[in-house]
Amino acid sequence: MDNNLLAQIVFYSFAVLTVGSAAVVVFSKSLIRSAFALLFTFFGVAALYAFLGADFLAAAQMVIYVGGILVLLLFGVMLTHKLYDLNLRSETFQFVPALVVAAAVFAVIVTFMLRTSWHTGPPASDAPTTAAIGELLMTDYILPFEAASILLLVAMIGAAMIVRRRSE
């Protein structure tokens, strides 16, 4: 790669963006800022996918996570609080013990992950993945694909049933 340095700069900036905004999600005192920080986390993760050559997945991440899940979460925040409540404080509890636990989890996982000799092969090529994914979804993964449609149907009807008003 001739622009190796450039690639590294871009990678590290996206890594910092991802982890940094995730930290904002976790530590921010304002609920709504947590939610908006999630936008940058999802965006950063999509960029990481692009780095890994998973172009279809990167776009899917943006469409579904940012355009769907994050919007849902934001609606969730806004519909469950009184309007004008800009300083939505999100309280925390067990802060220090949880910090210790999370730090321990991080330390353990990272230590062993870096020491593990992963089953490594040559990196997969960066060929476009869309066609291959479509092919696999219709052949080897046809059952999960169909099952996922049932899942979505159950989730959709279930969610609609729960939020529907009691009148009728």
Binding site: V108, I109, F112, M113, R115, T116, S117, W118, H119, G121, T139, D140, Y141, I142, L143, P144, A147, A148, I150, L151, L153, V154, A155, I157, G158, A159, M161, I162, V163, R164, R166, E168
Partner: protein, 495 residues
């Protein structure tokens, strides 16, 4: 179309029947508003019954996988298909008799029940980690909605929220473990894990990574089977959920969880050729680990049940304890141990559903789940009292009822495999459980109640109680058949 796909579809008829019923219920619920209550019930019951009879011809099919290695088709898969469909059918038949469920939206309830049943069938026979995770989430998401079915009821809602939060975190952690396993082996097929791992865990670091992955995955299974320390959700959810849902959750997803637990560890980790050996990865004492979980689970469940006044809560803790007993069977991971698990599940199905059925009937009349309100029940409804007593005795493990044989098998499997002390712990636990089950019996029979009016029992409920009662009492008559059935169900696909 791919010819292999068509062949696979022929072995997929039970699931297809359920899917068809699932879709028909949705359409019927919308299209025929006048008769939808009965129509959706009929479709759901018909679908389950058809699915049950379509599973029977699969017995004796050569073991293999279908859909490019997504699902296993072996005797055990068929056993669990039948078991899970039967459970759902029984719950379905009991559901209209419950006043808790809002009669208006029964169509959605049946839809959810069918959807969750379908997902459980997929879960119990998954041999691909993707299919495993997907179907686990399908079961979970359907269950969250079922628990929160009484959407205007505060308890139901809280139960649903707690279930959801615990569930998403537990399955999230499990997923992380699965990804690590994928990284270690480069495959998502459970059957290929063992070989890939055997060449891969030579170094200590890899073993540690595997350990972390396994711990995370066990958390997911522990959540589904409500084993300590992943049981927190269980009492609250069982109490808050509508009673038919509680009955369903306490049997079906648990059984599916055990099915996939056995399948995952047996085909993925244990050494091939010699059932009963965890020795492939000897750096961790698997048996001890599961023994500890099992002992803690049953002891905790039994002790916590002692001080419950709410019958649903009591049964919730008792179901935790029973999960402990079942785990005991998985410790002895040979054919005898696994057979005992299957037998225990069969007995547990009838006695537990029966107990919940009576809880439903009593709630319909008294509107209470307090054990104190069971006082004087013997005067008000002798039939219910006798039936409940039999279910309680069976849950205790008193002969000659079904529960006794289940326990006998589990303890026997432990004794036969040099774990006599383990069986003793189990037996001691059963002794503890006698106390709280007996409390229910005492309240019903001995203690006088204020109300004396008779409890009317519709004929449908009569029939339902008998359906549960007969196997609980008479299972031992067919003991040889059950032994043979469960024995033949153990021909796992190990390819």
């Amino acid at each position: 179309m791919n010819p292999q796909l068509l062949l696979d579809l022929q072995k997929f008829y039970p699931e297809l029947a359920l899917t068809a019923a699932f879709l028909c219920v949705i359409v019927a619920d919308i299209a025929f508003p006048r008769i939808r209550k009965r129509l959706t019930f009929a479709i759901a019951a018909l679908g389950l019954a058809v699915a049950f009879f379509l599973s029977l011809p699969l017995i004796g099919e050569p073991a293999g996988t279908i859909f490019s290695g997504s699902l296993a088709l072996d005797e055990m898969a068929v056993f669990f298909k039948c078991f899970l469909i039967a459970t759902s059918l029984l719950v379905l038949l009991a559901a209209p008799g419950s006043k808790e469920l809002s009669q208006r939206h029964m169509g959605e309830f049946y839809m959810l029940l069918l959807g969750v049943t379908l997902s459980m069938l997929l879960l119990a026979s998954s041999v691909d980690m993707l299919m495993l995770y997907l179907s686990l989430e399908m079961v979970s998401i359907g269950s969250y909605v079922m628990v929160g079915y009484l959407k205007n009821d505060r308890q139901s809602n809280e139960a649903s929220l707690k279930y959801l939060l615990f569930g998403t975190v537990a399955t999230g952690a499990m997923l992380y473990g699965i990804t690590i396993l994928y990284g270690l082996t480069g495959t998502t097929k459970i059957a290929l894990l063992r070989e890939a791992l055997a060449t891969n865990i030579a170094t200590g670091e890899n073993a540690a990574m595997l350990l972390i992955a396994t711990a995370l995955i066990v958390a997911g299974f522990g959540f589904k089977t409500a084993a300590v320390p992943f049981h927190f959700w269980c009492p609250d959810v069982y109490t808050g959920a509508p009673t038919p849902v509680t009955a369903f959750l306490s049997v079906a997803p648990k059984a599916a969880g055990f099915a996939i637990l056995i399948r995952f560890f047996f085909t993925g980790f244990a050494e091939s050729g010699s059932p009963g050996s965890w020795t492939a990865f000897s750096f961790i004492d698997w048996r001890l680990l599961i023994i500890v979980i099992s002992v803690v689970t049953m002891t905790f469940g039994n002790i916590a049940a002692l001080r419950q006044n709410n019958i649903k809560r009591l049964l919730a803790y008792s179901s935790i304890a029973h999960a402990g007993y079942i785990l005991m069977g998985t410790v002895v991971l040979n054919s005898q141990g696994l057979q005992s698990v299957l037998i225990y599940l069969i007995t547990y199905l009838f006695m537990n559903l029966g107990a919940f059925l009576i809880v439903i009937e009593i709630f319909n009349r008294t509107g209470s789940f307090d054990i104190d309100d069971y006082r004087g029940l013997s005067r008000r409804s002798p039939f219910l009292t006798i039936a409940m007593t039999i279910f309680m005795l069976s849950l205790m493990g008193i002969p000659p009822f079904a529960g006794f044989f289940g326990k006998l098998y589990v303890f026997g499997a432990a004794v036969n495999n040099d774990l006599a002390w383990f069986a003793v712990v189990g037996a001691l636990n059963s002794v503890i459980s006698v106390y709280y089950y007996a409390r229910v019996i005492r309240a019903m029979i001995i203690e006088p109640g204020r109300e004396t009016s008779l409890i009317p029992l519709p004929w449908t409920s009569h029939v339902m109680v008998w359906i549960m009662l007969l196997p609980t009492v008479g299972l031992m008559l067919f003991w040889n058949d059950i032994q043979q059935l469960t024995m033949s169900s153990l021909r796992l696909f190990l390819g």
